[in-house]
Amino acid sequence: MALAEVVDALVPDGSTVAWEGVPVAVARALLRRRGLTLVSTAPGVSGDLLVGAGCVDRLVTSAVAGPRIQAALRSGLALEEHTATGMAAAYDAGAAGLPCGLLRGYTGTDLAAVTRVATVRCPFTGEQLAAVPALTPDVAIVHAPRADRISPDRLPPLYAARRALVVVDEDGGEAPWFAEVVRAEPDEDGWAELLADRARFTAWLAQARA
């Protein structure tokens, strides 16, 4: 099945979607979605686009980068900010079926006061640790060069989610048994170029949504 059809079937309105290294073609297939929660260590151009298209109500991330994300924050996009290690601990916990992930982190920062993090005491050593709630997305979409070359960072999101999709550059190899695999399609109609031109892109987006 083609990428657009797979993605379209996998992500209904209102889903919580883990989004790690995802190519823009996936965002393109989701432009009509509404009410998504986007969970992403680094949303990248594709995540920025999804937010810019108005598909996302809530963003859970460690990198608040991208012009469309910054603009959306000024007009009410909900944000839950974590450190990169906080995101990793929360994905790990979700993957292992635990309610929270533990880490040394957030100590001495102002982040602790504005995000979902708590302090717990280790029952063995007495050390104070940070706890973050597990991430259990409805869907995880991650990128890999090939199905058998998924970066170790991207395995926990796949295992944590109810449904998992690996977008690959080339065929071959096997992904974890529960994950779907689909090949990214080449950008034949110059969409990436369109993205760079804000005025042209806004016009294109209006047409795509019509």
Partner: protein, 211 residues
Amino acid sequence: MSALGSAGLVAAARLLQAGQVCVGEPGDPTAAARLAAATHAPGLIVLDGSLPRYSLRRAQVGLVTAAQIDAFGNLNTTVLGDYDEPTARFAGPGLLPDVTAALPTIVLLPHRLAAFVERVDFVTAPGGLSGPLDRALVGLPGTGPIAVVTDLGVLRPDPATAELVLTDLHPGVTVEQVRAETGWPLEVSADLVETAPPSEAEQAALTSSAA
């Protein structure tokens, strides 16, 4: 060319040692680490931030940048103004808080009054917090930033006060110039030195990386 200039890049690179394992943010921090690896610090390893929880434990030094830094070396990459109604929004935490919490950290930042403030608007990553005992009190090791390298010179924390003081001036820069770009009454170290100009090997490495 880097916003730090060649004097800033070489001053940062000279703080690194052969065989060290570094966590480096993209841009000037990574450029400084590469410069060190190409000159006096062969075998230096620059991690790319993947598997952050595991790789940080194996790193020895952090190289970072920020939008704002204060007199105690606390760093802000979150907001200017109030968190919920900011006047400016930056890229957020990423790995920065973990790096300054766990590792001796070198901060690379162009020296501008807007960025060198008495107190950061938001502590994204802890430096010395508010004084010399603060890190130990909350259970953080070390001093956080060991050096702040700018395009004008180098600041280091005074062990007695945890406040950043001027320890190095780049060639042609005056103390008055640095003070004019610093938002707190900057003390000058009694042992103030001038940054040595790039060596031939450093100049060659800078030229080849710019090409």
